[in-house]
Symmetry: C2
Subunit: 185 residues, 2 copies
């Protein structure tokens, strides 16, 4: 993959998570790159193609993350996962899943299907971490591992959204609460 194509995907990712899928245009990208909007259509014929590529980028990144944290303990894995969202919040973005979920009825079927794949990767991994933590006793929590994983994902993703409205403090309190909730005595 050449550098221009990669740059387009990265800028699109940034724009989608700052402004939403329906509020960014090929022109916005061509303003950032020194490239005309026709050049972007060469790499991604339709906006849906670009949307799918952005999710593919996130799948790559989460795969890399999962491999990277493999040696860590379960509590450390949870914290590392929450730190991804902390970075999102600090950069004043929201997570890809939330912003595409709120635009769900307007996005192409190909984007929808790819997003389902991405959410399953994240959900399955975190469910596995919860199962392992429960077995080893390194994590303590109420309910089954899958529900706890979903509860963590929903809380932290909405916390990043809430921070856009209420500021960073609201994010931090939710993040700390999530950690406390899986380390109960």
């Amino acid at each position: 993959m050449n550098s221009t194509k990669e740059s387009i995907v990265n800028i699109a990712d940034d724009l989608i998570r700052r402004r939403g899928y329906n509020a960014f245009s090929y022109n916005d990208i061509s303003k950032v790159l020194a490239v005309k909007n026709a050049a972007i259509h060469y790499h991604f014929p339709t906006k849906s193609d670009l949307g799918v590529a952005v999710i593919d980028l996130h799948i790559q990144k989460i795969d890399h993350f999962i491999k990277g944290v493999a040696p860590l303990s379960e509590p450390e894995k949870v914290e590392a996962f929450l730190n991804i969202y902390e970075q999102i919040q600090i950069n004043k973005k929201v997570c890809l899943v939330g912003t595409l979920a709120t635009d769900w009825d307007t996005i192409d079927d190909k984007i929808q299907q790819k997003l389902i794949v991405f959410v399953n990767i994240v959900g399955d991994w975190l469910t596995g971490v919860m199962e392992e933590g429960l077995k080893k006793g390194s994590l303590t929590f109420n309910g089954d591992p899958q529900t706890r994983a979903m509860l963590i994902i929903t809380s932290i993703m909405a916390a990043a959204q809430m921070a856009k409205i209420m500021g960073p403090a609201s994010f931090q309190s939710v993040k700390n609460a999530i950690i406390n909730e899986v380390n109960r005595q």
Copy 2:
């Protein structure tokens, strides 16, 4: 307020929570009502004016909700609050706060300010319920009331978003987990 104006706000509310703020147009509303887009501009000169009116409608509704549940116990209040989101999920919408948060950087300052007011009303009310429940012993939970309130709001709002991607079952498991978390033995 006349009936046409009310209808416009109700349809806009529906469209915003189904398709997102930037994906609905005055034309979409005029298709549903038997009215031309110029007629909508008469009632709401700009799209931002309409956006503010939609949040005002939600402020009215939550005020009415708060008054209605006043006689109930704290656990019943929490459940009634979660049931609002269950209805949102069943109707395949998302909540107003989440969808406007993900479009935050693209919405007018007047809409942003009004949304802050709305979130504070909801947050203050639920914090009060948590405080009261803690004092009476009708609710049991970890952490301070304000954090718990924020945790409930973020979890349930993202659960409605997640249901768009993963289906209704994921919503129900999160809803039940939230209830269990404030009724721990």
